[in-house]
Amino acid sequence: MAADYDVPKITGEDGIVDIPSLQPDAMKGHGPWVSKPEFQEDMHFPTDFTMPESIENYGDAGTLVENWKERALDKMGDLKGRYRSLQVFLDICVKCGACTDKCHYYIGSSDPKNMPVARQDLLRKVYRRYFTFAGKFFGKIGMPGFVGAAELTEDVVKDWYNYYHQCSQCRRCSVFCPYGIDTAEISMAAREILDHIGMGQKYCTEIMGKLNKIGNNLGLPEAALADTLEGLEEDIFDETGVDVKLPLDKKGSDILLITPSADFFAEPHVDGLMGYAKVLHELGLDWTLSSYASEGANFGMFIGSYENMRKVSLRIRKAAQDLGVKRIVFGECGHAWRVAYSFLNTLAGPFDFLDQNYPVPQHILEITEPALAAGKLNIDKSQNDDKVLTFHDSCNIARGSRMGDKPGGQFVLPRNVIKAVCNNYVDMPADTIHDATYCCGGGGGILTDDLMEIRVKGAQPRMEALKHVTDKHQVTHMAAICAICKSQFTKVVPYYGFTMDMIVSVHQLVSNAIVLKGQLTEEEIEARDAAEEAERIAAKEAREKAAAEKAAKESKDT
């Protein structure tokens, strides 16, 4: 695939990328498309700014809100007061360097500002200048740099916008930081500040506007959703002869399934959705989707906006109450699960109206994995024998949540499920999986065409690990449990010489292998289709015969 920038080379040798030498400003740029005032208004962000005439003007003081500097600093003060963690992270870094080579965007781009510590310092230097004694003192005598402080200028704002949109908030760096500094939180805060001075990101805000109006990021209206689900029911029936339902807005169901809207739309996501439906059907569970809360993703987290994150979460609460369900289950979506697992109760709880005998909320894998282990699902593993699988741990699930009742369950459950439905499984190198997993390169609000270069470059470490297992261990497919990972990979793997259909959903593998009660064999399906075809032809012939007879009769009559 052609690109007007260098795609990093991968070798597959040991699966680990060598740390590149620095190329200052390699990724300097204008950043992603800026959000229009109308999108900002929907989010309750200030709108008194002027849309830049062209991308070259992004961040020019004349395009920002009035008194942008004071307002940026006010917001910073507000955020450090709200989130103690933010202030601790800004204060505590000792510049040890442990994080410097841990970011996939730095490794893929060689730009030193993509080193986690440097990315943090873009905000930290302004914090030091205006909120610490040392910064204020040396700032006043014109030497802020002496204490790692800097004035807030137009150029700083431009750097914020550019480099905080080259962070997928995957938190890999925080695993290696001896103090646990979370760059994701700093990056979220920076985007929240930018949203308040007229530099919102179009991708995130346009999408959240759709969610607020229609119920999901795609802008998929209820009628279209119903039609899509009906189509999937037909497909499952055609393939299996079993009437598996994908119910929508079914009041009084036991389970509300919340899943990313990409599951209704994109490939291979939709194959995963059919997998959940088959599992829930086979276990006899009474479930429904909601047209009001037809989105698991919560982009409020990406832009650090507590208010917007809460608004999205409250839709889920309302849907659960309106439908009268007893349980909430989440589908395959990385940050949806982080928000659900870690924050949902704070944002939209208490969930005392749900059945407390089940985890609140629960992950679909927490249903499928124990069911497989207990032999409750009839599985024909040979259906996946055309594949050798590996598994990509999604960052938000790996480092921001858990599954099951044991530590590390988020690594074990998906692998157990894959191994229970596939005969061939190989892990990628240890430094690239579990809590050291590399981001797909498209998380945290980066999954947009205007950031394609950083998406391709940021995928390098994962591609190197993948190349290793495809070359040395005959891996053919990589499974994921996150809508962003799946979309990002299908888009970027061709740049590295792979084909897009090598990316699969975990529940797609389950869907391939599961044998439903009453499922027709391949021969029976062929026979059924042949019988239907014969019936169709016979009916057509009968119609033609009747028409011919009628015509003959009419011509006779006249």
Binding site: N217, L218, A223, A224, D227, S261, F264, F265
Partner: protein
Amino acid sequence: MSTLELNGESIELDEEGYLVDLSLWTREIGEALAKGEDVDLTDEHWDIIDFLREYYEEYQIAPAVRVLTKAVGKRLGKDKGNSKYLYSLFPYGPGKQACKYAGLPKPTGCV
């Protein structure tokens, strides 16, 4: 923001070349948008674009890839009802590229 110049009129496009006012779409504009990206629309392209328009008029959104491939398979034959065929016509993705020429909103989200 850019514009498309057609018959002496300026039609507003967004940063990625999609129509800002979708109601302005005509077949001529579709042709011009494709031409701007060095794509000559053939009858095969138009079969897809026409279906996208029909679907959009009913549901106010682009169809899912699966819905599209299924419909194409039914209308144009099973050999064409797959994403490989669609990608051969629209290499940047049937969802995004075909939607642009068809005057549909770009699918957004984790897709």
